[in-house]
């Protein structure tokens, strides 16, 4: 089995079960979106994969070999974490040099080139950077390491719209030129949904979806119209929730988009963000 394979991973912090029997594959050369609400277990999962945390049970392998304490496997994975782990007084330029010492494939020229696109000052000390530039520093480093698996944990935290846009473009450009596996964990689902190919949704420590984006988007739709007509239409459907506006009802339905819809009803597809919200909300409708 090639790629990163996670098998039956569990982890608890005291009485909180952060991960519960999680199994998932990350294959080569694909852009993944790792989506989950706050505290769903995204960062815990990434930290275990990159050997920063120990699991209570289960294992992680890369190309069939256990990752834990395996330097060769770990050198193929880079994690851009949410917290900044570089020494506080280290200058930007030295962060690059330092990372290059651990990751020999590090592309210094590329790092300098994109740092200047983000107007990141190479002479600044790490602890003097703003929140946004802290993210940018980690981002530029992660984009330059040139390893087969790169995890981006909240890569655009604190970035303005222009720089977020720049990041998505750079990611696509890099991926097109030299494919690698990027796993992007973010709450800005709308922004990332066009970039990712495969979606992994995690909720309360469990994987609830692990599918190509397209297949997820084909699993739900909304139907709007006069309440009585909507009720009739959804009577045999799996309804996630609904909104009422006077006599007008909108139902969020999971299932394939039906072909034959009554004339007075309007059907629209659901985008990834809507799907995510409906799938991870506490059930509003009891069946």
């Amino acid at each position: 089995m090639s790629g990163i394979e996670v098998r039956n991973l569990s982890k608890s912090y005291g009485s909180t079960q952060a991960l519960n029997q999680v199994s998932i594959n990350f294959v080569e050369n694909r852009i993944y979106g790792l989506l989950g609400r706050n505290g769903a277990g995204k960062t815990t999962l990434l930290n275990i994969i990159t050997n920063r945390l120990f699991a209570d049970s289960g294992e992680v392998t890369l190309d069939g070999k256990v990752i834990q304490e395996n330097d060769i496997a770990l050198s193929k994975i880079y994690m851009m974490s949410e917290k900044c782990l570089f020494p506080e007084k280290m200058r930007v330029r030295d962060v690059f040099k330092w990372t290059a010492a651990f990751y020999p494939q590090f592309d210094m020229e590329y790092a300098f080139a994109i740092a200047s696109k983000f107007e990141l000052d190479l002479k600044k000390k790490r602890d003097s950077l703003s929140t946004g530039y802290g993210s940018i520093l980690k981002l530029v480093t992660a984009m330059s390491v040139n390893v087969p698996y790169v995890f981006f944990d909240e890569p655009v935290l604190g970035l303005d719209a222009n720089y977020r846009d720049l990041f998505y473009r750079l990611l696509i450009e890099k991926y097109s030129e030299k494919p690698f596996t990027a796993i992007v964990s973010t709450h800005l689902i709308d922004e990332v949904s066009s970039v990712i190919e495969h979606v992994v949704m995690i909720d309360k420590g469990r994987i609830i979806k692990d599918e190509p984006l397209e297949s997820i988007l084909s699993q739900g739709y909304t139907i709007t119209g006069p309440a009585s007509a909507v009720d009739l239409f959804i009577s045999d459907k799996d309804v996630m929730s609904y909104d009422m506006l006077g006599g007008l009802k909108t139902a969020y339905v999971s299932g394939k988009v039906p072909q034959d819809v009554p004339q007075n009803l309007e059907i629209t597809k659901m985008d990834l963000q809507k799907m995510f919200i409906k799938m991870t909300n506490e059930k509003e409708v009891s069946k």
């Binding site: 998505y168 696509i172 450009e173 097109s176 949904s193 066009s194 190919e197 397209e214 629209t268 985008d271």
Partner: protein
């Protein structure tokens, strides 16, 4: 180039239609090169697999073709072909939709014909 991410139309179909429009308007002439998958995906901020799927729609229609090592090119006769296809689709996409909306508004045939006349005399 604007992708409407809210649209019911899949992104790869929008990419294909955008390229078709550009070919129809001669922005990409026959036997000239169209943008690469990388260029399209970076500009539109979409996954390269999506861009590829859009281009493949045009390859299947034999509107563009691949020159090994060079990229994708517009095929000779592409404009004629697309024009024909669009004309065939005109009825479904415009006339049927028009009649449906007209029914909702209780507009009869004479009303519609009159509006079309008005449109032409502008």
């Amino acid at each position: 180039m604007n992708i409407d991410f809210e649209s019911d139309k899949p992104i790869f179909v929008q990419i294909a239609e955008w390229l078709e429009d550009a070919i129809l308007s001669n922005a990409f002439e026959e036997e000239s090169q169209i943008p690469s998958i990388t260029e399209i995906s970076v500009i539109c901020k979409i996954n390269p697999a999506t861009a590829l799927k859009g281009i493949n729609m045009l390859v299947d229609k034999e509107v563009v073709y691949k020159k090994r090592g060079l990229g994708m090119f517009v095929k000779e006769g592409a404009v004629k072909k697309l024009m024909k296809e669009r004309k065939n689709r005109f009825y479904e996409s415009y006339i049927e939709a028009l009649l449906e909306e007209a029914r909702k508004l209780n507009l009869n045939k004479e009303d519609i014909l009159e509006m079309i006349e008005r449109g032409y005399s502008k």
